[in-house]
Amino acid sequence: MPSDLSSLVHWILFLPLGAAVLSALFLRRAGGLAAWLSTGTAFVIAGLSLLLLGKGVDVSWHVELAKFGDVSLGFGYLIDANARLMLFVVSFVAAWIHLFSVGYMKEDSARGRFFAGLSIFMFSILGIVVADNLLMTFIYWELVGFSSYMLIAHYFDKDYAAAASKKAFIVNRVGDLGFILGIAMCLSLYGTLDFVALKDHAAAAKTIPVAVGALLMCGFLGKSAQFPLHVWLTDAMAGPTPVSALIHAATMVAAGVYFMARVSFLLAPDVLNLIAISGAGMAALAGLCALAQTDIKKSLAYSTLAHLGIMGCAIGLGHPELALMHMAMHAFFKATLFLGAGSVIHGCHHEQDMLKMGGLLKKMPLTAATFIAATLSNCAVPFLAGWYSKDAIIEAAYHGHHFVIFAFLSLAALATCLYSGRMIRLVFLGEANSEEASHAHESPWTMTLPLVVLGLVYSVAGGFLASTLMPAGSLQPIKPALDAIVFHLTAPSTIVGLFSLVVGFFGALKFYGTVRGADALQVVSPRTYHLLEHRWMDGLYRWYVDAVQRRLAEFVAFLDLLIINGVAVRWIGGGVPAVLGYLTGRSFHRGQTRAYALWIVVGTLFLAWFLIAR
Amino acid sequence: MPDGLFIFFAALTLGAALLLVLSRNAVTSAMGMILALVGVAAEFFLLDAYFLGVLQVLVYAGAVMVLFLFIIMLLDTEDAQGAYPWKTAALGLATFFLLAAGVLWLFHWSGAVSAVKAGATPPELSANPAEFVTAAKAFGRLLYTKYLLPLEIAGFLLLVALVGVVSLSKDNPENKA
């Protein structure tokens, strides 16, 4: 029953939009009501998505909105196995994060706006997942950017939050410029924007122009915070923690990965190689940078960058299904990590500096247990969720004989274990290093329940659940990937994983225990620490904007002043009427509308005479 | 010689339009306008465009002109007292006859309207719906297929006009001189 299922998708897509509109219009002051409305909607959507996942049926539905010549623009759904998985992951993670937000944002005065923002974000991201053509994808893409902007700027009276939201928006615009050019190129080359039709064209063509893939990739670079457009993600942590968990760790940044998987048939081999190399490089680098952050959320943001690099690398290696699987697993454990961080921040009275925490294991046992479990999953401990996908990707790199990528990914795995160990050591072990941390308290049930569900159930057992318990056939995209993994002690990925786990994780636990109240690396080697902490790309962009773009803009402004304003407007535009007015005694210009109308008539008659006599 | 009904309504329309242009009282002008629009609607009927004729009467002669009358009465504009502005009227009539002569020449004697298209009688209507059909149904079909985008834009335009009017007619204290 295709019609039946498309109506299901209608509900999934438009329920959050309805909730957002309702909250934005009527519930601005009734924050509590808006919170529960939004949360309830999120859970309903999660249920519907699970239903859709269980049915395992493809849905395609389309209406034409406009037709220009041969080009038809429409609105529709294209739901395949990837989309079902993504729908489930997004809605499920989002539902629990909504519930978490109810507790986390309890004392916020602008809850109505916040939850309306969450709902509009849900609408846009689900739109990207179900959209069946590039144009609708782009529209939802921009909506996602907008809602992200709005949510980062939730504390808009703080300068850093306002600046961070602006930065996220502008950096994404840079990527989106490439994206829309790519769409235009698809349209001119193939005359259609539908994914299905595009796939046919791509299959029929022998080679795909590199430019198409490269331009579409620009959108992915921006939204998924890939190098060199990754700079916005760490600043985006200025938003409330649930926002960081939902948008900037679990779902929105994964949208780029999903989109690349969806248009993977349009990507030329050169583009794939580029994505793979830059992704692997970024994974290693971002993992190391996470070591030089004291803010718990920023450290996690770098960790997200590293995982996004790994996902990009998987796409580049030609395994979009592995990328999607890692996206799914990462969504679960990274959401848990961020929610755990949120719980810690909440418990420590909004202290975010890890150096000032410590000893929280006893004070916040539930949070600590879930956080540590998710961390282990993050470190790819065998049989935990992260292990299934991450090791598969490393293995794929090795078997594809991409040894540079393999080396980078191994370094990334080591770095992951290092910063994870550091985080655990600084936050949960040892003694409390500040007044706030010593008075920490466990969070209410609305915050711990999502942690337990997302953390213990999914981030730990996710891979196991996916391979065994999930409805048969519902996880086709990741099934082959899961089947491919066998726990070989001799497999290179396992060796790398276990080595980095032992050396990295336990080494970090030990190393960061040596100095109290400060970062051990900073004490031991300040130069290395600074190298990792310094934001080189920001400096580069600053230099570019200041030195190059600004000069260019000033030059253009000067030309404008000289030619447009000076010659055209002042001399020609001002001079001619002045001379004419002088000659005719201002009879043209008496301020009477009737006189102007007469001149219009005369001009029209003259034009008509010219056209007829011609 | 054209049809009697055509001549009657043409004379009615032109006479009403003359009333609109020459009357000194704005309300009389509006009455002339209504009559002229009804005359145009009658010409629509004679051209078998019944739907448009009805639309013309409803929207134009009905809604729009009522709006005009409301505004005229609301503003209660004083017309300039004193002698009838014969000079302006004469100037206007001169302009009118000059332009009218041009129109007459263009459509009657210049041959710009080709003989085929200007056949003495309109071509017979055929049963083919793709051709000129009078029913509102044919209109609807065209509006929702070939002219769907213009229709949606027109709807959007009406919305914009609505919002514009609301914001324009809001009594803004800054506007008071």
Partner: protein
């Protein structure tokens, strides 16, 4: 409708148009000027319907439909503008509104 050619209709439309134009040129009351503008539009629609009928296509008639729609929107906004102008300046005589000169 025998003996009524396209030229007759165009002639009527042209004369109406010219009448409206004359009104725009000689009248001072903005409201009347505005009505004259509407008359010009009506004249144009008459020509369109005539063409449409004599060519046996619907397109001209559909265009008339849009003209009526747009005119309705335009009248609403235009009248609101005139009312706003009257509120600010206390007059709708076009000769009194000559600030554009300076």
């Amino acid at each position: 409708m025998e003996n009524t050619s396209l030229a007759h209709h165009l002639l009527l439309a042209g004369l109406l148009f010219v009448l409206g134009l004359t009104g725009v040129l000689i009248r001072r009351n903005l409201l009347v000027v505005y009505m004259c503008l509407e008359l010009m539009l009506a004249a144009a629609t008459l020509a369109l319907v005539a063409f449409s009928r004599f060519n046996r296509t619907m397109d001209g008639a559909v265009l008339v439909f849009f003209v009526i729609t747009v005119a309705a929107a335009e009248v609403a906004v235009g009248l609101a503008l005139i009312v706003a102008l009257f509120r600010k300046r206390g007059t709708v005589q076009s000769d009194a509104l000559t600030t554009l000169r300076d």
